[in-house]
């Protein structure tokens, strides 16, 4: 698919809050507004968490507990690919009879890409296929947990003080109003803060996460400040003169992917559990409806100046191309003039069964051979003429408008005016959509 390799050749203009030009594969289409939307014009919501390798879905609360990591899958610490479990047969003494040896299965983790194995860091082979692998303990965990508890308590105390002050000043205000302000303070030190969105009128649920009740006596947690050392461990003597053995040193990326340990030596790189990915749901900001993904309206694949239009829907689509006007405010990038075919192009509908149907009727469209190069099921190839304006070796960019009709089959059904038991759905109307397209054709040939 050329569109995977050259995504920036054909860009569509999105008129959102900002004017964004993006290739079609990165755009969405809102069925309700009938407009193109880019990633910046939509709001994201976290739908669920899942592991990219075992596809295990888990609710957000569980993900928070497991620190957004999958319990079963591991990442290679060397190249960040997924580790696979391999088995070998090793002779091991039978538990009953120490003199005899039997073949037992031993499992180890291995990376298929960089050939890292768990034996490289000294992890012994396990006898169970999954669940036997332990992540190394972080020596600082206890201190960190203590610090977190202390700061949570401190934040709660601050919030209570602030509430008390505000209560004293204004007696009539809604309890929600000032608590929302202080939610921010609590969430500064709380865990999992992003789970709660600021929705006006919602009950204060963050407090329950801290499991603190008003008026209860709190255990005073004190922490010792980190001790400041006068003497720092000196560098080894041969620090500057010892030759570095590169395979033993970890790269920065490998080191920083494990911020707990940041091992400097490759022999201490332990595998980590795989990070979970989020399934997002996107909402169109204007109409607050959920979007579907990249509704592929006519996609263009360009070869010289032969363009292809593909019709993804099952109806016949009519497409008209029009050049940009001279003073079109959107037309800033084009460096060449384009002559587009003036006639309307007709695209046949997509027929999923067409490839299996040997007796398909030939499509009966009268095509002008100057305009239409080929026609194949729901695709059409047509010519445009490009006249470069400048002599120098600039990128030839061409822009024009494409206008097509779109029948929204998924629009909400409007009840008929007569009423009645069975409301007849209004026939889906065709609307005409216009998009501004830019094509980057590449440099001029010398």
């Amino acid at each position: 698919m050329a569109s995977l390799l050259q995504p920036d050749r054909v860009v569509y203009l999105v008129r959102g809050e900002k004017k964004i030009r993006a290739p079609l594969s990165q755009l969405y289409f809102c069925r309700y507004c009938s407009e193109l939307r880019s990633l910046e014009c939509v709001s994201h919501e976290v739908d669920s968490h899942y592991c990219p390798s075992c596809l295990e879905n888990m609710p957000s609360a569980e993900a928070k507990l497991k620190k957004n990591r999958c319990a079963n899958c591991f990442d290679c610490p060397c190249c960040m690919h997924t580790l696979s479990t391999r088995a070998t047969n090793i002779p091991a003494p039978l538990p009953d009879d120490p003199t005899k040896t039997a073949m037992k299965k031993a499992y180890y983790l291995a990376c298929g890409f960089c050939r890292w194995t768990s034996r490289d860091v000294g992890m012994a082979d396990k006898s169970v296929a999954s669940g036997g692998w332990q992540e190394p303990e972080n020596p600082h965990t206890q201190r960190i947990n203590k610090l977190i508890e202390y700061y949570q308590q401190l934040a709660h105390r601050e919030k209570q003080d602030r509430d008390r002050k505000k209560m004293a000043r204004r007696r009539q205000c809604m309890p929600l109003a000032f608590s929302q302000h202080t939610i921010h303070v609590v969430e500064k030190y709380g865990l999992g803060t992003r789970l709660q969105r600021q929705r006006p009128g919602a009950p204060i649920s963050s407090l329950s996460g801290l499991s603190l009740k008003e008026g209860e006596e709190q255990k005073d947690i004190t922490i010792e400040p980190a001790p400041a050392l006068d003497e720092v461990e000196p560098l080894p003597e041969d620090c500057y003169s010892r030759p570095i053995s590169l395979p033993e040193v970890t790269t920065l990326r490998q080191r920083l992917l494990q911020p707990d340990f940041q091992p400097a030596g490759a022999s201490q790189l332990h595998p980590r559990h795989k990070h979970l990915l989020m399934k997002r749901s996107l909402r169109c900001r204007k109409c607050e409806h959920n979007l579907i993904f990249a509704h592929p309206i006519p996609s263009k694949r360009e070869s010289q100046v032969l363009l292809t239009l593909t019709n993804p829907v099952e109806n016949i689509t009519h497409v008209t191309l029009a050049p940009c006007e001279d003073d079109d405010p959107d037309d800033i990038n084009s460096t060449a003039k384009v002559v587009v075919p003036g006639k309307q192009l007709v695209l046949a509908g997509k027929d999923a069964a067409a490839e299996y149907d040997e007796l398909a009727e030939p499509q009966d469209f009268q095509d002008d051979p100057d305009v239409v190069a080929f026609r194949k099921s729901n695709k059409i190839g047509f010519f445009i003429k490009v006249i470069p304006q400048k002599e120098e070796d600039a990128d030839v960019t061409v822009s024009f408008k494409i206008r097509h009709d779109f029948r929204n089959l998924a629009a909400p059904v409007r009840p008929s005016e007569e009423g009645g038991a069975a409301a007849a759905p209004a026939p889906a109307e065709s609307i005409w959509l216009t998009h501004h397209v830019e094509l980057r054709l590449g440099p001029l040939a010398p």
């Binding site: 190249c79 890409f113 960089c114 050939r115 890292w116 490759a266």
Partner: protein, 181 residues
């Protein structure tokens, strides 16, 4: 044009072998593999696995045939190496237990010792000796050293030596007069 195939080697007829090539026993050459000895003889050891569309070529540098006579250099390939699908190997000296993965490209001035793995699509054109047990992987040809050498593909070799003759004609084996050192 002398191709000496030792007894026990399985070389399919569809493979293209040109020039002075010696193939050791227990080596499997898949159909559509190409072993071309232009600028000198090629000696392949035993237990090697040369898969489809692999190209082992002892050619002139940059494909230019020199006008004057240049001394032919022998390309030696050791034991238990694996040349995966679509790889190109011009290295003059390859040791044992190496794996050249799919579509990798090994240049003429590289010397593979033993246990090296050249990852898929990695192009190694340097002029160096790759130390033992090195793994070259990734789009930036990152390297690392692994602690153990890759296992010889004995199971696969046995399977292929049984199955390939059922579906392909094999080139005739000729007893080699002398073995490669």
């Amino acid at each position: 044009m002398s191709v000496k195939i030792a007894a026990g080697a399985v070389v399919c007829v569809e493979s293209e072998i040109r020039g002075d090539v010696t193939i050791g026993p227990r080596t499997v050459v898949h159909p559509k593999a190409r072993i071309i000895a232009e600028a000198g003889p090629i000696v392949i050891g035993e237990g090697n696995l040369i898969e489809e569309q692999a190209l082992i070529i002892n050619g002139y540098p940059e494909n230019i045939t020199p006008e004057s006579e240049v001394e032919p250099k022998t390309m030696t390939i050791g034991m238990n190496n694996v040349f995966e699908v679509g790889c190109v190997s011009q290295a003059l000296k390859i040791g044992d237990n190496n794996v050249i993965e799919s579509k990798a490209d090994v240049g003429r001035n590289v010397i593979l010792t033993s246990g090296c793995i050249i990852g898929a699509f990695c192009q190694v054109n340097t002029c160096e000796v790759i130390p033992e047990n090195t793994v070259i992987y990734g789009s930036g040809c990152m390297r690392r050293v692994q602690t153990e050498r890759p296992q010889p593909q004995t199971l696969q070799l046995d399977f292929l030596m049984k199955i390939l003759p059922n579906y392909h004609h094999l080139k005739k084996t000729v007893k080699a007069s002398h073995n490669a050192s």
